[in-house]
């Protein structure tokens, strides 16, 4: 009589999901994805490539054939698909939990490995949390305050995300809060016939969004006629320019119309994010909006880079920088800023690798355009990268945990090995 019973289906499924086979396969796929993404970002840009390979929206990734044959650039030739990086990582977490936590033998001999597995799981989860929850923007400020580069700011702006904003204006001032439609609700409307009705429960009208353009240049018909069937509004249209490799350099645009709650559609109007190149090359002031009047209420609708309001104001007091001699490589950037919160002022010194952490936000000294020279000295403009990520410190903790676990495991193994060695030599002597 055979002693081996056939395994049940749940046990087999558990075996597959907890197995080394799946872990190895997933790690090989991740290695491939990382390698292909590294190659592809040189032709498609970093942000677009990260979105393509590692966004939760993509179950499958079709690598661009142009990464191996540059002649194919712009021909939409694809390599065979691979699973999306986000979902590979998600499956790896399942595999690690089932195999590396639940199924693993538990005892003092495996405690180090268990800790390392916990650390890796924690790190992957931190990446997932960041993908859903991270808010990242820049604050470009000047000491004197010039259009687009104010000296005091209470917001940061995303470099790659946009939003359509609806502001109610009363007595010449914006009466809050500001309603906004994040670009995840319209970025897929790139086809000429693509439309989406955005229901806005807090407002007396809805918006219909049409024909999204990733890199739109508002063009007057007096300058160049619309030749690709672009909708023309008041002799202006959105010229479709090729997307930049650096997504931050794109100025998205979209066509929109107000839709009354009873379904009556208004006239088409154009929205476009302002182009810093038209101003100071670094940051643009808020764009002039399209105005909508509903009875005695007035609304302004505009497209802008996504705004992240901060719980404090920052005033740039002084910016200093210096390059290494005879190079354009910065030796240091440093800024004195005043953090203002409810009337309280605190002076903060910021430099590269010394961020300011406050109120759940982390502000890094990011850039100092136009101020550096080999002799050093004063700059006028200073840029800060501002991030809010609940999992900000998790990767650090996970590395500590995994590192400690692996060290512990190594020490336990070494002690075990040495004690076995001494036992065997005692036995030989006896």
């Amino acid at each position: 009589m055979s002693s081996t019973n056939p395994k049940s289906i749940p046990a087999r499924i558990f075996g597959v999901f907890a197995g080394f086979g799946l872990a190895t396969t997933l790690l090989v796929i991740l290695m491939l994805l990382t390698w292909l993404a590294t190659l592809e970002q040189t032709v498609s840009g970093l942000h677009a490539t990260l979105e393509k390979y590692f966004s939760h929206k993509n179950f499958w990734v079709f690598p661009d054939a142009a990464i191996f044959k540059h002649d194919l650039m712009g021909h939409d030739k694809r390599l065979p698909p691979l699973p999306g990086g986000f979902w590979v990582c998600a499956l790896l977490v399942v595999n690690l939990v089932l195999g590396g936590i639940i199924r693993i033998r538990k005892g003092w001999r495996t405690i180090g490995v268990l800790m390392a597995h916990f650390g890796i799981i924690f790190m992957i989860i931190a990446g997932g949390v960041a993908q859903f929850k991270e808010e990242r923007g820049v604050m470009m400020m000047s000491e004197t305050g010039i259009p687009g580069l104010p000296s005091v700011m209470d917001y940061a702006q995303s470099q790659v995300e946009t939003s359509v904003e609806i502001l109610e204006v009363k007595d010449g001032k914006v009466a809050g809060p500001v309603h906004f439609i994040a670009d995840r609700h319209y970025k897929d409307l790139e086809a000429a016939d693509a439309t989406r009705l955005i229901r806005l429960p807090g407002l007396p009208f809805d918006l219909q969004l049409e024909r999204y353009v990733q890199n739109a240049k508002p063009m007057s018909e007096a300058s160049m006629a619309a030749e690709r069937g672009e909708p023309v509004v008041e002799k202006w249209y959105l010229f479709v320019a090729p997307a930049n490799n650096e997504t931050a350099a794109d100025t998205p645009g979209i066509h929109a119309r107000v839709v009354q709650k009873d379904g009556k559609q208004g006239e088409l109007f154009l929205l476009a994010a302002p182009n810093p190149a038209d101003f100071n090359g670094l940051a643009a002031p808020a764009p002039a909006p399209f105005t909508v009047r509903q009875g005695d209420r007035t609304f302004a609708i505009r497209m802008d880079k996504q705004i992240w309001p901060l719980p404090f104001k920052m005033r740039l007091m002084d910016a200093r920088t210096e390059n290494f001699p005879h190079t354009t490589k910065p030796k240091y950037f440093e800024s004195d800023v005043m953090r203002i919160e409810e009337g309280r002022e605190s002076k903060v010194f910021m430099e590269m690798n010394q961020p300011m952490r406050y109120g759940g936000w982390t502000a890094y000294q990011h850039t100092m355009p136009g101020g550096a020279n080999s002799r050093g000295g004063d700059a006028i403009v200073s840029g800060f990268e501002v991030v809010r990520n609940p999992a900000d410190q998790w990767p650090k903790y996970s590395i500590y945990l995994a590192g400690f676990g692996l060290c512990l495991h190594f020490i336990l193994k070494m002690v075990n090995f040495m004690s076995r060695g001494s036992r065997s030599s005692t036995a030989t002597k006896a």
Binding site: M153, L200, W236, A272, P309
Partner: protein, 209 residues
């Protein structure tokens, strides 16, 4: 009772392949689904970027690149330094220790703009009858009104209020467009530059004239 997997025979194998193909096809199609309608109820607090919203701008006013306006300066008074144009400044100058002159094209009515300037100096708005009594002038051939004020000046756009400031400027209206020349700065400097501003305004002309 545990379930058992039947060994994959010919038909079972074909069914498995069909099942896997169907799942793969579904997974490939899922991202392609596009919603025709969505409900969005996201808001954020008002920030400094939301100050000074220009209403009723035409497409040309909204999208024209700064510096491509039709208004050009006929002369630049001595002591004034030209500054780069911006979205709301057709021409821009600095003078003295903190004086500023901006030529702009805006939207709205005469009263809205007169009172917007006065509000920046924390002054009470004027009624239409009071506005009609303001000093009259012209700008690029368009009749306008001169506005003057003194006090603490809040320019908006994140700038802190400045004390001891003066305002002298003209607002002209034609075909729903508002043309402005606005001088601000320390009171004494503004007073000293009044005549220069008038001469500058008189010399403004439309491109091609």
């Amino acid at each position: 009772m545990p379930l058992h997997v039947a060994e994959g025979g010919g038909i079972g194998g074909a069914m498995k392949i069909r099942g896997i193909s169907a799942c793969l096809g579904l997974a490939l199609l899922l991202p392609a689904c596009r919603k025709s309608e969505e409900t969005v109820d996201q808001t954020r607090p008002v920030t400094m970027r939301d100050e000074d919203v220009k209403l009723d701008a035409s497409s040309t006013q909204r999208f024209e690149k700064p510096g491509s306006s039709k208004i050009v300066a006929g002369m630049i008074p001595e002591g004034w330094t030209e500054q780069p144009a911006s979205q709301f400044r057709v021409l821009s100058y600095r003078f003295g220790t903190g004086g500023d002159v901006a030529v702009g094209v805006a939207a709205g009515g005469m009263a809205d703009n007169v009172n917007r300037w006065l509000r920046q100096f924390d002054k009470d708005p004027l009624a239409d009858a009071q506005i009609a009594k303001l000093e009259q002038g012209t700008m690029v051939g368009i009749p306008g009104l001169w506005v003057a004020a003194e006090g603490d000046y809040s320019a908006g756009m994140g700038q802190p209020a400045k004390t001891g400031q003066g305002l002298y400027g003209i607002i002209a209206e034609k075909d729903g467009k508002i043309y402005t020349v606005k001088m601000t700065g320390p009171v004494a400097e503004v007073m000293a530059e009044k005549e220069k501003l008038k001469a500058f305004t008189a010399a403004l002309r439309e491109r091609g004239e």
